[in-house]
Symmetry: C2
Amino acid sequence: MSDQATRGRGRPRAEEGLDGRAAILTATGEEFAERGYAGTSLRGVAKRAGVDPALVHHYFGDKTGLFSAILDAPDAIQEGFLRILDGPRDVLAADYVRFALTLYEDPAQREQMTALIRTSLGSGGMADLAKVFVADEVNERFAAIAAGPDAAFRAELVSAQLLGLFTVRYVLALEPIASASIDEVVARVAPTIHRYLFED
Amino acid sequence: MSDQATRGRGRPRAEEGLDGRAAILTATGEEFAERGYAGTSLRGVAKRAGVDPALVHHYFGDKTGLFSAILDAPDAIQEGFLRILDGPRDVLAADYVRFALTLYEDPAQREQMTALIRTSLGSGGMADLAKVFVADEVNERFAAIAAGPDAAFRAELVSAQLLGLFTVRYVLALEPIASASIDEVVARVAPTIHRYLFED
């Protein structure tokens, strides 16, 4: 399918020179972040992306497909997280928190994460998908490196702390955390993550 | 206005023998928790409460009024939290976490808190009201007892940790935290709260 044939409505994202698929993904992140899962429609995403709804359907099928697609982190980011989790334990927590905060300086990544938090707290069917994502993609990896018989509990405490931190800093944008430097946040929060994973 | 005159639809809450105002508040918590702020209507609340919509309007005005009303914790609960914050520092964090977790064993309190979290993460105007509530009612009180020049930052880290914990345990109900005993959660999380407030 030619992008040329399906654009041409003068909508913003495609006008920025993004190709159809990238324009749709960016628009999806924005729509989920602003409207939550329930309020997002394929038509609304297509409109914001500046493409025909048929193109959204062609690439992603339905709203579930769109949601799955925005959960997929680029390989480079996944590899970065995995490298930290494989690294030395004494710096693991600080490196992880710093990597995440640095990543979310990027507006597109921040939008995707905000959408994930908003969606996972909704009551629609997508909330389950988001929960599975957190359980499989995040908690299991932390559980694999955490100490002791309650590794799964420790891993989930890490997720709980990071979820609360990201919600306050990015979704709610509450001050002073929203404007604190990455160094300030790492200095306070990394010891918590370290303790949840490795200490009593 | 007589409750008798405005009930009589055979709806659940009023049937349980709650008076009109209590039935409306309970129904409001349930509707906010299930549908979020945007999905909740005065009519829906009235239907669930088993009262006439006019009675909801009479007591609370509009949806903003309903939301403000469910943010008001009963005096006994507020006094409990304030007594802990006034208490000795070495047990303050553990007492606070334990008090909150014990409070949320009560389904009505849990619903109210879940509604507050869901609403504060929405994008409607009510999100601002919820943020002001957290900033004024929670963060300021922790900031008043926290150590050092960055007391406001420390207080907000406490809120971030508790928000993440309550979200995972009650809103998302992720295991193993959702089913962990209060003792287990206090043992792991209270040291974090203590450190955010009082230590480096």
